[in-house]
């Protein structure tokens, strides 16, 4: 018996002991296990070009996708508004999943309700669930706004949110003038970034275009403000705070739309804040008057931006700007739009990032990378790697589309360091596995699920993306702005140095190269 009170063995030590190892070896006899030689043969076969071809010929099966479904994005966007309770109409299990998923990434509470539709609602429709649900949520959680979206169940049976919300108000579930914006967010269309887009558009539409026929449409009276949209972003806490700092440094008057940087980073001080921060409802309404709107993620705002443009604003979309040039472009565009200059302090920050890149570039230059994640994140990361003289080889986005593919290819074609890179829209992490075996790279950048690829292929994983479940607090630091670029640079460098150390730490074998100074 290895366990003891003095030194309590955890699961990662306990089961390595001889008693458990013998027990597990004996258990095998009952498992009807495959011949180990056969397992080895198939394992090796999965590393081949032949397997890769079969793998890429898949038409029906998706394995380890790097995307989630629409309502997750809708919930993420909704909580960015002051006092807003996301309400997802459909099966209740979905909401348990979104809440868990967001909590596991941010290590924060995630509040959201469901209309808990069951079999009878599948037959008769979910109107009663909506009426009762809105009344209960309104009374229990005292929200300032309830933002409704849908699960695939409600979409398949065709529930009409606009009519249901109207009826609910008529039945007194919530006051007639209480704000209940909505968005249909079918899980079988697009991904979580689509859901973000639909929900945000739904909320703006509600405030700007007459609250579903219950109020006059707002008439735009242009002012000097700039709207800012972050898009679905695992680094929303750090990033939005950094953007606010930059906007304030420049003296730009701004409105962050869907500002969830507070609600996903509340203090532990004895009070649970179900709602915190967020774009106020007045700000959301008045955002129609802004001079223009900047989105940091084109593919998170494909419908929202044209909607805003239709209201007469200038709109600008970036692709998760990361590093020097992308941040330059962002700041210059912001300056142009707002008429405010870029202060010296930001020029100094820029200089520090360039300084850091010159200090370290020798360790990154020429290193080969594979990247996967949401389409804008992939684009932004690829652009930054090119600046560092690194060579992206595989860029894969499960929820990337044809337009993303073309834009990313154009970016790569414009750099000598992007010539050997291929772009994979609509592919998953099992495709990536084949790519890493058949065309190996030095480093992989992606979310937590990349650890399976790291284990299988030996490619060191740098965790940048969503979700990151197995490392803590990274979402608190920005990856946007020059300071954000610095954070990304350090993250990449740390992994590179750690890997060199790991490979040179065999005493008596690789005492050389185990350097103190690098």
């Amino acid at each position: 018996m290895a366990q003891s009170a003095e030194h309590v063995l955890d699961h990662f030590e306990l089961f390595r002991g001889p008693e458990y190892q013998q027990m597990l070896a004996k258990k095998k006899a009952f498992e009807n296990p495959r011949d180990p030689a056969e397992v080895e043969r198939v394992k090796e076969w999965t590393k081949t070009l032949e397997y890769r071809e079969k793998n890429f010929a898949r038409e029906a099966l998706t394995i380890n996708p790097a995307k989630a479904c629409q309502p997750l994005g809708a919930v993420f966007a909704s909580v960015g508004f002051e006092g807003t309770l996301p309400f997802v109409h459909g099966s209740q299990g979905c909401v348990a999943y979104y809440r868990s998923h967001l909590s596991r990434h941010f290590k924060e509470p995630s509040s959201c309700v469901s209309s808990s539709m069951t079999e009878d609602a599948a037959v008769f429709g979910g109107l009663n669930n909506m009426v009762d649900g809105l009344a209960n949520s309104y009374n229990m959680y005292k929200p300032k706004m309830i933002a409704v979206s849908t699960t695939c169940m409600a979409e398949v049976i065709g529930d009409d949110l606009n009519a249901f919300i109207k009826t609910s108000k008529e039945k007194g579930a919530v006051p007639a003038d209480f704000d209940v914006p909505f968005a249909h967010t079918p899980a079988f269309v697009g991904s979580h970034i689509t859901g973000y887009d639909n929900a945000l558009k739904g909320i703006l539409e509600h405030f700007w275009d007459g609250k579903a026929g219950t109020a006059p449409k707002l008439e735009r009276k242009p002012n000097d403000k700039v709207n800012f949209i972050g898009g679905f972003d695992g680094y929303t806490v750090g990033n939005l705070r950094e953007i606010k700092r930059i906007l304030e440094l420049m003296g730009v008057e701004y409105t962050i739309l869907a500002d969830n940087s507070e609600v996903f980073d509340t203090p532990t001080d004895g009070e649970f804040r179900m709602y915190d921060g967020g774009t106020t409802l007045d700000e959301a309404a008045n955002a129609v008057h802004a001079k223009g709107t900047i989105s940091m993620q084109q593919w998170s705002t494909e419908k929202t931006l044209p909607f805003i443009a239709d209201h007469g604003q200038d709109v600008l979309a970036f692709n998760y700007p990361m590093g020097v040039s992308a941040t330059d472009d962002f700041l210059m565009a912001l300056s142009l739009l707002s008429g405010k200059g870029i202060p010296e302090e930001l020029a100094r920050e820029r200089g520090r990032l360039v300084d850091a890149m010159t200090d370290s570039s020798a360790h990154i230059h020429g290193k080969k990378f594979a990247i996967y994640g949401d389409p804008d994140l992939c684009y932004g990361l690829a652009a930054f790697l090119l600046e560092l003289g690194a060579e992206p080889i595989h860029v894969l986005s499960t929820n990337g589309n044809k337009a993303w593919e073309e834009k990313t290819k154009a970016l790569l074609a414009g750099s000598t360091f992007g010539q050997d890179c291929n772009v994979y829209p609509g592919r998953d992490l099992w495709h990536m596995r084949s790519l890493l075996f058949t065309e190996p790279v030095d480093y992989l950048i992606g979310n937590t699920y990349g650890k399976y690829l790291e284990r299988d292929t030996g490619t060191p994983l740098i965790r940048i993306g969503f979700p990151v479940f197995d490392r803590h607090h990274h979402h608190r630091s920005p990856v946007w702005g020059y300071q954000g670029g610095m954070n990304v640079l350090v993250k990449i460098l740390d992994k590179i140095f750690d890997e060199i150390d790991k490979k040179t730490s065999l005493l008596g074998k690789t005492d050389y190269s185990f350097d103190i100074i690098r």
Binding site: E31, A68, V156
Partner: protein, 500 residues
Amino acid sequence: MSLVTTQSAAEIRARNKELIEETLKVYPEKTAKRRAKHLNVHESGKSDCGVKSNLKSIPGVMTIRGCAYAGSKGVVWGPIKDMVHISHGPVGCGQYSWGSRRNYYVGTTGIDTFVTLQLTSDFQEKDIVFGGDKKLIKLIDEIQELFPLNNGITIQSECPIGLIGDDIEAVSRAKSNEYDGKTIVPVRCEGFRGVSQSLGHHIANDAVRDWIFDKNGPDSKPEFESTPYDVAIIGDYNIGGDAWSSRILLEEMGLRVIAQWSGDGSLAELEATPKAKLNILHCYRSMNYISRHMEEKFGIPWCEYNFFGPSKIAESLRKIASFFDDKIKEGAERVIEKYQPLVNAVIAKYRPRLQGKTVMLFVGGLRPRHVIGAYEDLGMEVIGTGYEFGHNDDYQRTAQHYVKDSTLIYDDLNGYEFERFVEKLQPDLVGSGIKEKYVFQKMGVPFRQMHSWDYSGPYHGYDGFAIFARDMDMAVNSPIWKKVKAPWKDVPKPKLLAAE
């Protein structure tokens, strides 16, 4: 320190009743009436806890429950390691449940075992419009090609499958014939079925009965020599290795475990279970159905057991042994004796730090009752408990064997009620899930996730008890809880002002 310990049972009962009344005031009348049936104070001597259960959750209240798919794919089927489990429908369900339950297993993942893969048919609009059966047919071919060493396939239905009229049973039969009788199991666990995870467990159990037992018959493979001491572990999902730290005790007492359901389990083990002499059942809620079926059909007795904390472990080892001869009975005593020094050392170390501390639980399955003994072994007291998806038989077991008089009981608790109850009762520790964890930690209340063991475990068996005790101690006695209030906000008003 909790408020409750200084009060009498009658006072606590009155206070808890008042707390329930107070909490119900927030609801619209109809909702208050419905919720009132799920909240109560236990009276000792009663045969159940006096609450309704297994009823529909109320819309909009922030229920903590999940769905039937979670009960089938997430709980029962997902851990069977050598079968490929398809999340059939849109991408989300499989994505959110990917690798999050910590059902440990040993295998070459992606080659002969598949638990931590997320395989989905990733439904698009055209699949909803035209149906998904053709995609499913092709998908099974692709699995066969890319994962040739899989020992079977299950189809875990997501909501749309049952709504668009797909015939996954017909597809399963046809593909099974095509692949020489391969085990392909369609599971009708659409998320809208039933009121919680619970129906998903039942549906998943029935699928084992219909598509594995009935397919094979009791006399089929596998071929191993039976012994009089063959048992199967039922309803242990090997979270953090729970089934392993249980199995080792059973084997040390002389039994032979021929199957694990379903943590670190395999198709062969499911198929072999009708040969067991006794099914020992840990999570009654999720696997009583198949245990009863095996009793009726194959005449295999089953007994419930509880491997949390030394008191319940010893009681359970003796109970299990009572089904066998003296050799096993002696074996049970030998095991209890062998681990006694470890138990003594753990209790000596941790009990003084935890004595008198109070706990509120809200979990699923068996835990709202099963872990109470382990807390009591450490001198802690459970002052409130409830089931996410329990039935009346769970509350009966709770009332008859576990909870004390005046314990607050809450069924299908929601966010609002849980916050009010904790705020008022001020327990020293809350044990619940990931959705609750950060809410209470923000409030300054120590918390442990009691679904995933907060990424720790195992908690079963003697080895697990040491980890359990250590974890509860580090939650309750972490120095960080003293830092929750900023010192300048904690200062009482200066006396000078009062004197003016």
